[in-house]
Amino acid sequence: MSILGAVILSIGLFFMAVTAVGLLRLPDFFTRVHAVSKSETLGIALVLIGLTLHEGTTLVSLKLLLVMIFVGFANPVGAHVLTRAAIRTGLIPWRREANQPEAGEVQR
């Protein structure tokens, strides 16, 4: 395993950890979409680049890059579809003020 591949793979694991922490600690759905759609895509791209550097120039590394490109399109599109469904069915975004509705409450 090359050193560069291991370092890039570890950075990708860090971004996936950022995604998990964001899913746990952020206050409502729209902020959690922010964590998943961007940080998860970058983490997966970095991990797959690290595996590609370990593999070398073969058909397997071409397929790994294909998975990376597909996830780079599909993950933000999926998050966008879910967010559009949430905002159209009336989920209220979270606010800091005390007199606002509770986070996660729904009104149309």
Partner: protein, 94 residues
């Protein structure tokens, strides 16, 4: 080899943290988002398992098909909820 086993263990722990949001999420959208994140984690996990067992040529094909299924599932659930609304919206406005 040992490095890949450690990477797979880390990915499993991160997926378990995301599973907390699937089990105890506040709205159905949180559950769907977290399950999509778990599916995206498992794409990488399949590729790493291929390197653990020295058969990356087989497991990479599995990862490709799993990525396609994950994307189709998220988009189908999102379109359904956009048309019919969730249970929380029905409670507020019957």
């Amino acid at each position: 080899m040992t490095f890949f086993v450690a990477v797979a263990a880390v990915i499993l722990v991160l997926s378990a943290i995301a599973f907390h949001r699937v089990a105890f999420g506040e709205t159905i959208y949180d559950r769907l988002l977290a399950s999509g994140a778990i599916g995206t984690n498992f794409i990488v996990l399949l590729a790493v398992i291929g390197f653990i067992f020295d058969r990356p040529d087989m497991f990479v094909d599995l990862a490709i098909s799993y990525a396609l299924l994950n994307f189709i599932g998220a988009v189908a659930a999102g379109k359904y909820l956009e048309r019919h609304g969730s249970d929380e919206a029905q409670e507020q406005h019957p």
